[in-house]
């Protein structure tokens, strides 16, 4: 009989490899891709796609894809701050829509993790469509790790 080993609870996190491997699922439908990262933040890009329009008259993207973008950017921000991947779930996410996204432009989302406790990660972020000084959305939220972050 071979020894049974539990799968590791966490492992080193590399955002570029993570996004290269994630073409399937909702993120794949939205076409969300990696742009940049730092020690506690990640910047992702949501390309403009007519299939994602929420306001047909003005050609403006629906808010759902922007919510998905910011959920992913802030989630990756948590793993970067931890320097390792931990399974976790979004507890809550709030978005303030500062102005509509411009039709035809990609949305850039930057998510940051500013505090981690034993089981909760606190995140915030902004989304813009070309000029970071003129954001389209601001987010704040929390994630929870059922087995703890540390």
């Amino acid at each position: 009989m071979s020894a049974v080993t539990d799968p590791p609870r966490s492992w080193p996190f590399d955002p570029t490899r993570f996004f290269a491997a994630r073409a399937a699922g909702h993120g794949g439908l939205l076409g969300i891709g990696y742009r940049d990262h730092g020690p506690d933040w990640a910047e992702l890009e949501l390309p403009y796609d007519p299939r994602l329009i929420g306001d047909v008259e003005r050609g403006v993207l629906a808010s759902g894809p922007i919510l998905a973008l910011m959920d992913m950017a802030t989630s990756v921000g948590v793993w970067l701050r931890l320097s390792s991947f931990h399974p976790h779930a979004t507890l809550d996410l709030r978005i303030d829509y500062l102005r509509p996204a411009t039709a035809g432009r990609s949305v850039i989302g930057r998510g940051e993790c500013y505090r981690i406790t034993r089981s909760i990660a606190f995140v915030r972020g902004q989304a813009h469509d070309g000029d970071p000084a003129d954001p389209i959305a601001h987010v704040a939220g929390t994630f929870m790790a059922p087995e703890g972050y540390r």
Binding site: G25, H26, L29, A68, D92, R94
Partner: protein, 126 residues
């Protein structure tokens, strides 16, 4: 209720209701997050669409032309969304002259056990 392209991308269909429509989202690759579970973004998108559906139905009942703009949304995720159909319905808490406060819940088996809920504020341009 006329659905925008994003709703079609999520595969949504509409079940009319007396107060508000119920939006139905099948499980599939388009809405998959981590393996076997719904993506939080897709679920948030569904809740927002359900909230707008409820608000539009109430505004149509009032007559008169107006447009709505989302101000903000807060989504609470309560249970992981599993490999099954998800339904969502909005309800208008208060409709004023300029602002509407709307809630929405999403459930899978039992409406009394929601998997996620959202609160939204809308600006109304009459």
């Amino acid at each position: 209720m006329k659905l925008p392209p994003y709703a079609e991308a999520l595969g949504l269909s509409v079940e009319p209701g007396p107060e508000a429509p119920v939006l139905v989202m099948p499980f599939g690759n388009e809405v998959l997050g981590r393996p076997g579970f719904l993506h939080g973004g897709a679920l948030g998108g569904l809740l927002e669409m359900a909230a707008i559906g409820a608000l539009n139905q109430m505004l149509e009942g009032e007559g008169g032309e107006c447009r709505v703009k989302p101000v903000n949304v807060t989504v609470d995720y309560m249970r992981g969304g599993r490999d099954k159909t998800t339904r969502a319905r909005g309800s208008v808490t208060r409709l004023g002259n300029r602002i509407a406060n709307v809630e929405a819940i999403a459930w899978q088996d039992d409406e009394a056990r929601p998997i996620a809920a959202a609160r939204m504020n809308y600006l109304i341009l009459r």
